[in-house]
C-alpha cells in the first residue's frame, strides 16, 4: 500500500505551536491549520493513508468517522499536489 512522508526538501519553521512550510521549487509559503499540522507531524515517519486516518479517528472519537476519513484523504491529496509530501515505496 502507498506510504507517504514529508518532502525532505520542504523547509519547516515552527513558531510557538504553529507550522510554516516553504515549498522549495515555487517558494510558496504555507501556514498549517491545526489538523494539517497534526498530519504533518505524523508524516515525520512514513504512513499509509489508512494508518493516518486511524490515528486521527483515535484522537477525535467524538467526530463523525466518515468526515474525519474524508478530511484526512483530502489533506493528503492537497499536500501531495503542493509537493509538501511525497510517496515512498
Amino acid at each position: 500500500m502507498q506510504r507517504y512522508r514529508r518532502n525532505p526538501a520542504v523547509s519547516e519553521t515552527e513558531v510557538d505551536d504553529e507550522i510554516f512550510l516553504v515549498e522549495p521549487e515555487g517558494e510558496e509559503i504555507y501556514y498549517l491549520e491545526p489538523v494539517t499540522s497534526g498530519l504533518w507531524r505524523l508524516l515525520a515517519e512514513p504512513k499509509t493513508l489508512a494508518e493516518a486516518q486511524a490515528i486521527l479517528l483515535d484522537a477525535f472519537p467524538d467526530q463523525d468517522a466518515a468526515a474525519v476519513e474524508r478530511d484526512v484523504a483530502a489533506a493528503f491529496e492537497d499536500m501531495l499536489a503542493r509537493k509538501l509530501i511525497v510517496t515512498v515505496s
Binding site: 510557538d16 516553504v22 504555507y30 491549520e33
Partner: protein
C-alpha cells in the same frame, strides 16, 4: 493548510521580483528617472502621466532625462488606455483605463523596482506613523483601516510615514528594524466614516489635492509627514482587525499570528522563502506585537497613542 505568500513573485508591493528578468529593451527618447536606493529607476513612455505621478509620488524625486540602454518599466498607450510592462509590473496584460489608474499602478511598480535593488529590503502592506520615538506599523489588507488610522495619527501630530506600503530593512547596521519613507502622498476613502470627528474632517479637507467621489489624495504640510529617504526604527507591529461596530481594543498578539500577518502582507523579491519565514519570525520576536480590533479609527488612534506616545515626538 493555507497558502500565505510567495517570496519569489512578479509584480509590485502586492507581489513581484526583478530577479529573473533584466531591464526592458527601451527605445531612445526621453524618460522619467526616479531616485532608487542603489541606482536610478528609469521609466519609458510615462511622460503623459507626469502630472499624476507628481501628485501620487509626493516628494519622491524624479526628473526627465534622455534614453539609455534599457528601462526598468515601460508604459505603453493602447486604444483602451495604458499598459505597464517590465519585471516590476504585476500583470502586463492589464489595461489601465486612464492616467489616474496608470499612475497609481506605476507608483506600485516603482516601489517594486526600488525594493528589488537592495537585497535587504522588504515592503509591507502597512501604514506607519512615528509615535513617540519610534515607528508604529499597522498591518492589514485593503479596507483594514490603514489610511484612516495613519491620518488620524497625523492629525494628532504624529508624523505620517506611509498609509499603504512601508519599505523596511529588517535589520539595519545596528540590528534595528528600520522603516524608510518614500514620500508618497496619503489617500483617504470618501465619504469619511461617521465618528471620524469634525476636526479630522477639517484636517482632511484642508489638505486635499485631488478628489473624486470615492477618494481624495492629500498633501500633508512639512513637519506633518516624513520625507523621501527619512528613516526611523520600528517600535511596534500592530495587526489590524476592523469590525463594523464595537469598542477599540489593543492586546498583545501571539507571535505566530504576527508572523502569519507579516507573510501575508509582504513583498520581498530578494529573500528566499525559508529565510523570509525565519526573518519574519525574528522580527515578530524582537518587537512588541499587538492586535488592534476597532470600528472607529479616531478611538483606535487614541488608544494606540496612549500606549506608545510616552516619549517626545521627534
Amino acid at each position: 493548510m493555507r497558502r500565505i505568500g510567495t517570496s519569489n513573485r512578479r509584480g509590485q508591493a502586492a507581489a513581484g521580483t526583478g530577479r529573473e528578468n533584466g531591464p526592458c529593451r527601451a527605445r531612445a527618447g526621453r524618460r522619467l528617472i526616479f531616485a532608487g536606493p542603489r541606482r536610478s529607476i528609469t521609466v519609458e513612455g510615462a511622460a503623459a502621466l507626469k502630472d499624476e505621478l507628481a501628485v501620487f509620488l509626493g516628494d519622491w524625486p524624479f526628473r526627465e532625462g534622455e534614453g539609455g540602454d534599457g528601462a526598468d518599466i515601460i508604459v505603453e498607450q493602447t486604444g483602451k488606455g495604458y499598459v505597464l510592462r517590465g519585471p516590476h509590473t504585476p500583470d502586463d496584460s492589464m489595461d489601465l483605463p486612464d492616467a489616474r489608474y496608470a499612475a497609481n499602478w506605476l507608483a506600485g511598480a516603482l516601489i517594486s523596482a526600488y525594493v528589488a535593488q537592495d537585497e535587504g529590503l522588504i515592503c509591507l502592506h502597512a501604514a506607519a506613523n512615528r509615535v513617540g520615538s519610534g515607528l508604529v506599523v499597522f498591518m492589514g489588507g485593503s479596507l483594514a483601516g490603514k489610511s484612516s488610522l495613519a491620518l488620524q495619527f497625523a492629525a494628532a501630530g504624529h508624523r505620517f510615514f506611509c498609509d499603504d506600503r512601508l519599505v523596511m530593512h529588517c535589520a539595519d547596521k545596528a540590528g534595528t528594524p528600520t522603516g524608510i519613507c518614500l514620500g508618497l502622498v496619503p489617500k483617504v476613502r470618501l465619504p469619511l466614516p461617521a465618528g471620524a470627528g469634525d476636526g479630522f474632517g477639517e484636517f482632511i479637507n484642508r489638505r486635499r489635492i485631488l478628489c473624486w467621489d470615492d477618494a481624495a489624495y492629500l498633501r500633508l504640510a512639512r513637519g506633518e509627514a516624513a520625507r523621501f529617504g527619512d528613516r526611523c526604527g520600528v517600535s511596534a507591529l500592530i495587526v489590524l482587525s476592523r469590525h463594523p461596530q464595537g469598542p477599540a481594543t489593543l492586546r498583545p498578539a501571539a507571535r505566530a499570528e504576527v508572523v502569519r500577518a507579516l507573510l501575508s502582507h509582504i513583498f520581498a523579491p530578494n529573500i528566499p522563502g525559508a529565510r523570509l519565514v525565519r526573518d519574519m519570525t525574528v522580527l515578530a520576536s524582537q518587537l512588541p506585537v499587538y492586535s488592534l480590533t476597532f470600528s472607529n479609527s479616531r478611538e483606535a488612534s487614541r488608544l494606540v497613542a496612549a500606549r506608545f506616545a510616552g516619549t517626545a515626538d521627534a
